[in-house]
């Protein structure tokens, strides 16, 4: 590559670049790897290696606090992700397709604001409102539903941003063509738009799912007695110090995430390649 030589000069810069990348990746991955290794440590002390053991995983299987928390977190994350994608699609549609409606600037501000609003403020504000509502009509109690509400609030914005980015790329002529051929707006959406943004919908779903599954702050404000999500359990243990049970949970989560993300990215890459092939085939037919 000639450009390389122009930029770096031979040798040194290239070597430097390679080591910087290696160092960066070590920085990103070694801490996680250490967690994984120490989850097999016989010694409960995080600094002493006492030999290999699977004890912490056996204990994890009987740890009802974590398991209940995990089940609750998964339920909340699933519902929150589904809801966020539906409402996020609407919000993205409103922002991208309808350039003029009353209060559009205000609307886009509200869609984007939760992205920059610190979680402590989101949690506090929702809680204060829920308390006010509860005093007024005696409903809702703090618990799973209120946590879900908080996560849906955050998820909507993230989903809207991801979907809007994709929606902007969709060629509007395709939708217009469908309309000209007599498709109803709903048909245009389900038959033309939806398939084209399906990948963005999937990544928005995954993003909001993992955001919800990971959230500490908003959940802490909105949880009630008996509704402790898994991050809250992990957080309260981590606060006290390094604990082998957390290392074991961490390892399970890391492995599951790594496997899922790898599979998802392979599928996405394959779909992309297929789409590119179809498009080029279609263009060849044209000419």
């Amino acid at each position: 590559m000639s450009t390389h030589r122009v930029m770096f000069g031979p040798g040194f810069a290239k070597l430097f670049g390679r080591w910087w990348l290696v160092g960066g990746f070590l920085f990103l991955y070694l801490p996680m790897l250490t967690l994984v290794v120490y989850s097999f440590n016989k010694s409960p002390l995080p600094t002493v290696w006492g030999g290999f053991t699977l004890d912490w995983y056996a204990k994890l299987a009987g740890d009802t606090e974590i398991l209940n928390g995990l089940w609750l977190s998964i339920k909340i994350a699933f519902m929150s992700a589904c809801f966020s994608v539906v409402l996020g699609t609407m919000a993205a549609f409103a922002l991208v397709k309808y350039k003029r409606f009353k209060g559009r600037t205000f609307f886009s501000g509200m869609v984007n604001a939760p992205l920059v609003m610190p979680e402590v403020i989101q949690g506090l504000s929702l809680l204060l409102m829920l308390v006010a509502v509860q005093r007024w009509i005696g409903f809702p109690e703090r618990g799973m539903m209120t946590i879900l509400l908080g996560h849906m609030m955050m998820g909507l914005s993230y989903a809207a941003v991801v979907i809007a980015a994709r929606l902007q790329e969709v060629n509007p002529q395709l939708e217009e063509a469908a309309m000209d051929l007599g498709a109803k707006p709903w048909q245009v959406f389900t038959l033309v738009t939806l398939p084209m943004i399906s990948q963005a919908l999937a990544s928005a779903w995954l993003l909001t799912f993992s955001l919800s599954l990971d959230d500490v702050v908003v959940s802490a404000f909105l949880s009630g007695p008996g509704s402790t999500t898994m991050p809250l359990v992990i957080f309260s243990r981590a606060r006290l110090g390094v604990s082998p049970s957390v290392n074991a949970v961490a390892t399970v989560i890391i492995v599951v995430v790594a496997v899922c993300v790898t599979i998802a990215s392979i599928l996405v890459a394959r779909a992309e390649r297929r789409r590119a092939a179809e498009i080029s085939a279609a263009q060849r037919d044209d000419s």
């Binding site: 990348l21 600094t47 409402l87 919000a91 609307f107 610190p118 599954l213 957080f235 981590a238 110090g241």
Partner: protein, 308 residues
């Protein structure tokens, strides 16, 4: 009914598509925030927060208290907490830039065939739990943890103590240093990704032109590459700086008594002191603190768009 029938079908669809998220956001984003605003100017009663507006004997009484805001400006604690939030967010942003810029640069100039893999490797930690990534550093920086041992061995701890990032050589956890390391670690991908997006789009012929005109690679880098990647630098810095200001989890797990950040103050005001009006006032000031850099950023972006 006749009226709505006369309107075309897309009109009704449009109303629904805009109306539902709009209503949702007003109900669950705007209304809660207005409630926070109201709380911030009310006083804590004996059991519950007193109403701002009371109706007694047919007379509406408004009792707005600025005392919380006065207290925030007069009490050292809040002032220091805001200041150290900005300070540590700033240091973290600089650290991310220092590590992230060369990283993104060399990533963008790596062989095209391995770039998707590198990109995925940067994103992967982002998908794993934020909480666990912070927690991982607890074990590493604890006395006897291998990173702490290594740094002490190399004498880095004495350097850090000299710069005030830690108090006593050898103790790394619960110091400004551990806080900055934790935040840099968790937010580094947010810096790398926009920088990479920017740098990989750069027209390399410009560098060749610079070389033809006699610029050394180093000069070309500073005079061509860096100015062209300004938008990426600003975007990445915002993505790191803004969430860092309001951060709670990292200061709680890795910070110490020296590193009081405003997110933690708000949390303690609410959960430990049970002072809801005070927590609300802290929140309102925090929002203002975040809106300012954001406004500057938006102005810059608008100007950049105009120039295009």
């Amino acid at each position: 009914m006749r009226l709505s029938l006369r309107k075309p079908a897309w009109w009704r669809g449009r109303t629904v598509v805009i109306g539902i998220p709009y209503a949702w956001l007003i109900l669950f984003f705007l209304a809660p925030f207005l409630i926070v605003l109201r709380f911030s100017v009310s006083e804590m009663g004996v059991i519950s927060v007193q109403d701002v507006m009371t109706v007694a004997d047919g007379v509406v009484k408004l009792a707005i208290k600025y005392s919380n805001y006065v207290f925030i400006t007069s009490d050292d604690l809040y002032y220091k907490a805001y200041l150290s939030s900005v300070k540590y967010a700033g240091i973290t942003t600089l650290c991310c830039l220092f590590i992230g810029y060369p990283f993104a640069y060399f990533m963008a100039r790596a062989k095209a065939s391995i770039q998707p893999t590198l990109l995925m490797l940067v994103m992967l930690p982002f998908w794993t739990s934020f909480l666990l990534r912070v927690y991982a550093w607890k074990g590493l920086l604890e006395e006897g943890g291998w990173v702490a041992e290594g740094l002490t061995h190399l004498g880095v701890d004495r350097l850090l103590a000299a710069t005030g990032m830690i108090e006593v050589p050898g103790i790394l956890l619960h110091t400004p240093f551990s806080l900055v390391v934790g935040m840099t670690y968790t937010y580094l991908p947010f810096m790398i990704l926009p920088l990479y997006a920017n740098l990989s789009k750069m027209d390399l012929r410009l560098l060749e032109a610079a070389a033809d005109l006699g610029a050394s690679p180093w000069v070309a880098f500073w005079k061509v590459t860096v100015p062209l990647s300004k938008a990426g630098i600003i975007a990445g810095s915002m993505l790191v700086f803004i969430p860092c200001i309001g951060e709670y989890v990292t200061p709680e797990l890795l910070g110490g008594p020296q590193t009081l950040m405003i997110g933690r103050v708000l949390w303690d005001e609410f959960f430990s002191n049970n002072d809801w009006p005070m927590a609300s006032s802290v929140a309102v000031v925090l929002v203002v603190l975040i809106v300012i850099p954001l406004a500057i950023f938006n102005k810059y972006q608008a100007e950049a768009q105009e120039r295009r």
